[in-house]
Subunit: 247 residues, 2 copies
């Protein structure tokens, strides 16, 4: 055959948050190209004799380039192997899944996408923060924090109105810039924020505060994956309630 | 004990898109309060002797009121039963999960939330539409279409800039209003849109077109759950490519 690749969302960390379909596809795989952020316990769900190939970037270390990932997937699939491309969270939310699908299709490979629990959903459930709420938020925006300071085509200020929740992925490094921009644009400095590190994992930590304190919270967290939630919905979190007993 | 309730996301339709954790919790449940939109094949995963209680609203028919749902969950949990509240998609994305968690906590019941694949993720994967893209979309906004014409505190126009994807849940009835507002606010009438009905289910249909054609697409779909995706990312969908071979 012309080969087949499954792009599979590995979810936010907790291996139990994989879908049944992801588990089935993973267990059938001959070779698995995986991000470095994928939890080892997820990889343990694959067959023992499956080949595991780490291709993700790690902080401070270059990964395999995107074009090389495409080439290796095409080669393996063309060779008749059942290929899984395992990505943290969901393949189509900040996962570059669109680029990989396009490259595989261009090479004549069948591609199927298996969605995953993206960090926003996993962390919200684990932190007790509803992303939308009848009274507080009728929309939620997922934004990557990995935008250069000068070139933001998405103005975060327009995404954080009073009736919305803003969720920022990979936002630790840009936290100060984000807070400054939002406050300069008129978002109240007292708007609640939560910073969740290692969400859904045993070592999950949740820090809550106000938008003005976001830079401070960013300095307090460790080296794990971080998700930031900004909005009144954060008041529902037990971590917020315990820090402000009067609210 | 004081009782325990799991709020569980049932995912977008395909029962294989349930998480492993959701399946485990579902199979341990004594009683399941479920939305009417939850796929019967998901309910089949529960124990045969578990009590299934439909509590969701159906189109045109009143459901059990929200307060009555809270009361029945509290009563069952207080009675020592293992309670699952099974909701379509994810409990914290347009699922009123926040209200249910608050009501249960107020009654002294332990609540845990198990996230689910929300419709945006499930439909994107099934339709081949990346929600974000390095070149086309650095943010994605999930919005409910069930906002009254006069009282929209979230202005959809601010959510559909050139570098963003807008996903509208339950947007069939409001499709004409939404398209009119977006175009009036300067969003190009030619921006690609996809309307996905019964996403991830065997009877899934995908219609693509431009923002100007959104009202027409809304009139063409049947009675199943509908998700609307607006943004340049729709060009990646096979359904878009097949209708515009020159693009």
């Amino acid at each position: 055959g012309r080969g087949i690749v499954h792009l599979v969302g590995a979810g936010p960390g907790d291996p139990e948050l994989l879908t049944l379909k992801a588990q089935r596809v993973l267990q059938a795989a001959d070779v698995i190209f995986h991000d470095s952020l994928v939890d080892p316990r997820v990889l343990d769900l694959a067959r023992r004799d499956a080949t595991r190939v780490p291709v993700g970037k790690r902080r401070g270390a270059p990964g395999v380039g995107q074009a090389a990932i495409h080439d290796r997937m095409v080669a393996a699939a063309s060779d008749g192997q059942r290929v899984v491309r395992l990505k943290g969270g969901d393949p189509f939310v900040f996962g570059r899944g669109g680029e990989e699908v396009a490259a595989l299709e261009a090479a004549g490979i069948d591609v199927h996408v298996v969605p995953g629990i993206t960090a926003a959903l996993g962390c919200a459930a684990a932190a007790g923060i509803p992303l939308t709420h009848r009274d507080h938020a009728s929309a939620v925006t997922l934004l990557t924090g990995q935008v250069q300071d000068g070139d933001a085509e998405v103005d975060p200020a327009t995404l954080a109105g009073g009736d919305r929740t803003l969720v920022v992925y990979m936002g630790r490094a840009g936290a100060s810039t984000l807070a400054r921009r939002l406050i300069a644009a008129g978002v109240p400095a007292g708007r609640p924020v939560a910073m969740i590190e290692n969400g859904t994992r045993p070592d999950q930590t949740i820090r809550t505060g106000t938008l003005a304190a976001l830079p401070l919270l960013a300095r307090q967290v460790g080296g794990g994956p971080v998700l930031i939630v900004i909005g009144d919905v954060v008041r529902a979190a037990p971590a917020w309630k315990s820090r402000t007993p009067s609210s």
